[in-house]
């Protein structure tokens, strides 16, 4: 009996070794980058190491993107609703944070509360149209709602609050998480948030609610026949997604010196779509991996190719579509399944 | 006996579903052959596999001495196969006349066949300018058959012609099909055993995606056990 917990522990470690290894690597990342530059961990702690700080910055951007992509995967990949207005979820979070901190002068927790309330309100707004429209019409209506928000943000009337087409500038984050002076702390907070949200999502997908969401994606008519009022489940998914995207926006507004109106544009929704298509639609890991690949690709191309980077990235997406249609995680799953089958066959062959 | 169509052990899939698992159908030239079997047994899929709409993954389809499996479906159809699908598939945005005209494979075919078609189905003549949707079920069925007659087809695949029709109309339809069989070979899928037994000379029973029994219709009519077993009482 005493053996039990121990073996359970080791089983846990075995099944999750990839995740645990990744986690460890992420915790050590700032220090490793520092060491590679010949700078001691103390320097990294003091936020003095240039390259490590840069790597942390890139990682933070990836974490924020990953949160955003997760939120999109929840409604598109898991629940099967194609929304073209998803950037609004992120944009509301980012702009509201900026306005609340800068113009209203609220504290950080109050801002976060405000952002969450707004997130719920907009999920309900999107939810209002749900019973009326489906499929491509839903995509168009959400595109419309998103565009209106983008236009409002860009309008000169809102200029004093949103900075119109220049973007929202001069948001001063509280000193204790200042992205300039306390980046390491910011890095770990962002990492923690991402892990927590990821675990929450994993649980959600595995919960009774999440299961029904998947059922809705697979065959909504049948789900209704089973007695589920699918509207409430879609609304639940939308709300959770909206909260997450708003949280990502909140972090974005604190981390970035400027909230550009691009984050509220159709293009940013497309970014989310691309990320989960690269990673694998409907797989939560796919959203994380997709965010890493997308951001690094974008960064690398811009750095080494410059202006015409989007030409290359466009080509990469086209190649992805044609040759890796299920995304990295989806393709990996089928391939590893085939490999496993092959092994089993081999083993059978030799008794 | 000369077979216009010889389907040899075909296997077809719809998505992941292995629908046909070995169907053999031989159709003697000039005959009416009925495919019998329960709902979902694979009769419609057999017709679609012959036409290449659900291309078989295994097996052969030999039409007029030529292997046609793997050919593109419009090429197969152009070799002289007319298709009357289940639920008729009348084009609703086209008028009755356009529904007929679209079946032309060479210019002027419709004009040439017009008289013959309207002799067969006098109803269609006065409906000619109406859109396909405004027809009743029986009229739609007539139009669907008429559409398969516009081009020079040697083989007609007719799926469930009596479905949902009143007995009087079924009788009319049966007469038309009998008339057609003088010039062309017909493969018929039919649920209504009475209709099938009166029309067809030969039959093939399909069960769970396999052809399980074939022969002459006269023999089947006396084989109550087989009727009971494969078709239910009706």
């Amino acid at each position: 009996m005493t053996q039990q917990p121990n073996s359970r522990m080791s089983a846990f470690f075995l099944t999750n070794r990839a995740a645990l290894f990744t986690l460890l690597a992420l915790i050590l990342l700032p220090f490793i980058v520092g060491l590679m530059d010949g700078e001691s961990p103390m320097l990294v702690f003091a936020n003095q190491s240039g390259n490590s700080k840069f790597a942390q910055g890139l990682a933070i951007e990836i974490f924020i993107l990953a949160l955003y992509a997760l939120s999109f995967d929840l409604i598109f990949g898991i629940t099967g609703m194609l929304s073209f207005g998803h950037s609004m979820f992120f944009g509301v979070g980012a702009y509201l944070t900026g306005i609340s901190l800068k113009t209203l002068g609220l504290s950080l927790p109050a801002t976060l509360g405000l952002v969450f309330i707004a997130a719920i309100v907009q999920a309900v707004l999107f939810g209002l149209v749900l019973p009326r429209v489906k499929g491509i019409t839903f995509a168009l209506v959400t595109l419309g709602l998103g565009s209106v928000f983008h236009i409002v943000v860009m309008s000169s009337e809102m200029g004093p609050y949103t900075g119109a087409d220049v973007g929202l500038q001069g948001v001063i984050a509280p000193a204790f998480i200042s992205p300039a002076n306390e980046r390491l702390r910011f890095y770990f907070i962002a990492l923690t948030i991402l892990i927590l949200v990821y675990l929450l999502y994993k649980r959600f997908v595995d919960s009774p609610t999440g299961r029904v969401c998947i059922a809705i994606r697979e065959n909504e008519g049948r789900a209704r026949m089973l007695g589920y009022n699918t509207f409430y489940f879609k609304l639940a998914a939308l709300t959770l997604s909206s909260l997450t995207a708003a949280l990502a926006g909140f972090m974005h507004a604190i981390y970035q010196p400027i909230v550009s109106p691009n984050v509220a544009s159709m293009g940013f929704t497309v970014t989310a779509l691309l990320i989960i298509l690269i990673g694998g639609v409907g797989t939560l890991n796919g959203a994380l991996i997709g965010a890493v690949v997308y951001r690094l690709l974008d960064f690398g191309l811009r750095r080494y190719i410059g202006e015409s980077a989007s030409f290359i990235s466009g080509t990469v997406y086209v190649l992805f579509v044609l040759f890796i249609p299920f995304g990295i995680v989806g393709t990996w799953k089928t391939k590893s399944f085939q490999v496993k089958q092959g092994w089993d066959r081999l083993r059978k062959l030799f008794g | 006996m000369e077979y216009i169509l010889d389907v040899q052990n075909i296997h077809s899939f719809i998505g992941q579903y292995h629908i046909l698992q070995g169907v053999n159908v031989r159709v003697p030239k000039g005959s009416i052959t009925a495919l019998l079997g329960r709902n979902g047994a694979g009769k419609t899929t057999t017709l679609k596999s012959i036409l290449g709409l659900t291309p078989p993954r295994e097996g052969k389809v030999i039409y007029e001495g030529k292997e046609v499996q793997g050919m593109r479906s419009f090429d197969i159809a152009s070799m002289g196969i007319g298709f009357v699908p289940e639920h008729r598939a009348i084009f609703r945005d086209l008028t009755v006349e356009e529904n007929l005209k679209i079946a032309e494979r060479s210019k002027g075919e419709y004009i040439r066949k017009k008289e013959f078609i309207f002799d067969l189905f006098p109803d269609l003549k006065r409906l000619i300018t109406l859109p396909g949707t405004s027809l009743s079920g029986g009229q739609q069925q007539m139009l669907a058959i008429a559409r398969a007659l516009v081009a020079d087809n040697h083989l007609l695949l007719i799926d469930e012609p009596s479905e949902g029709l009143a007995p009087v109309i079924i009788e009319h339809m049966m007469k038309a099909i009998q008339l057609l069989s003088k010039d062309s070979t017909i493969v018929l899928v039919e649920q209504n055993f009475l209709v099938a037994s009166q029309l067809a000379e030969y039959y093939v029973i399909i069960e769970e995606g396999r052809s399980v029994q074939e022969g002459s219709m006269k023999d089947l009519a006396n084989d109550k056990a087989a009727i009971h077993r494969y078709l239910g009482a009706a």
Binding site: R203, F204, D206, S207, P208, T209, G210, R211, V212, I214, A215, E218, N219, G221, R222, A223, R224, M225, L226, G227, Y228, N229, T230, Y232, F233, A236, L240 | G15, Q16, Y17, R38, N39, G40, A41, T133, S134, S136, G137, E160, E163, G164, L165, A166, P167, Q191, N192, F193, L194, V195, S197, E207, E208, K224, I227, H228, R229, Y230, G232, A233, A234
Partner: protein, 260 residues
Amino acid sequence: MEGAMTAEIILETQNLRKQFSGLVAVDNVSIKVRKNSLHAIIGPNGAGKTTFFNLLSGNLEPTSGKVIYKGRDITHQPVHRTIHFGIGRSFQITNIFPNLTVFENIRLASQALGGDNFKFWQASSHFKKYEERTWNVIETVGLKERAQTFARTLPHGDQRKLELGMILAPDPEVLLLDEPTAGMASEQVPELIALIQGIQKEGNKTVMLVEHNMNVVMSVSDAITVMHQGMVLAEGTPAEIAANKEVQTAYLGGLYELNV
């Protein structure tokens, strides 16, 4: 017989009618279904049987007429409500979640009415009662070995069983079965029919059945309604239907006598 006649009516339609643009699919159908009976609807293809079922289950809204369940008008209830009243319905064309496992399919059906659907903070494996119910149902329909396979990879016959399991899972009082044996091999049919009969008798359920196989219908039903072109052609016990000349000519074509 006498006792059955006076038994409680559980489901009733009054002048039910459904019109699709030109076509009247269901025309003035009034039937009464007694509690705990096995009531069969037969008729040729296109007679309106499936449409009639769709009206009962709320998939379609009737053009006119009423559906009454246990004395309550449920005509305009949306489809996701009917199961809450206790009416489960299967489909002629297998309607399952093809990319989920058999277990998952049935668990979704089991948990639907349990009221724990929004506990998103707990893993679904936490809810043991649904898992137990799921295993029970899987065992009842005989899919235990296949529980973890994807529904799409099941052979057709097993998919029909899965479909049956999905309506059984929430334990409804009335089962509407639309051609449960469609496309099954003839060897498997008696097995499934026995299963349905067992469920009906032991679980005290009311079963409405659309079926093509006349002999099956004749041997198991308590009452039969014959539909033809959307209308009720005849109603009665199997013996009465078998003797009905009109039914013979319109449906059976007068070619065969029925072995009852």
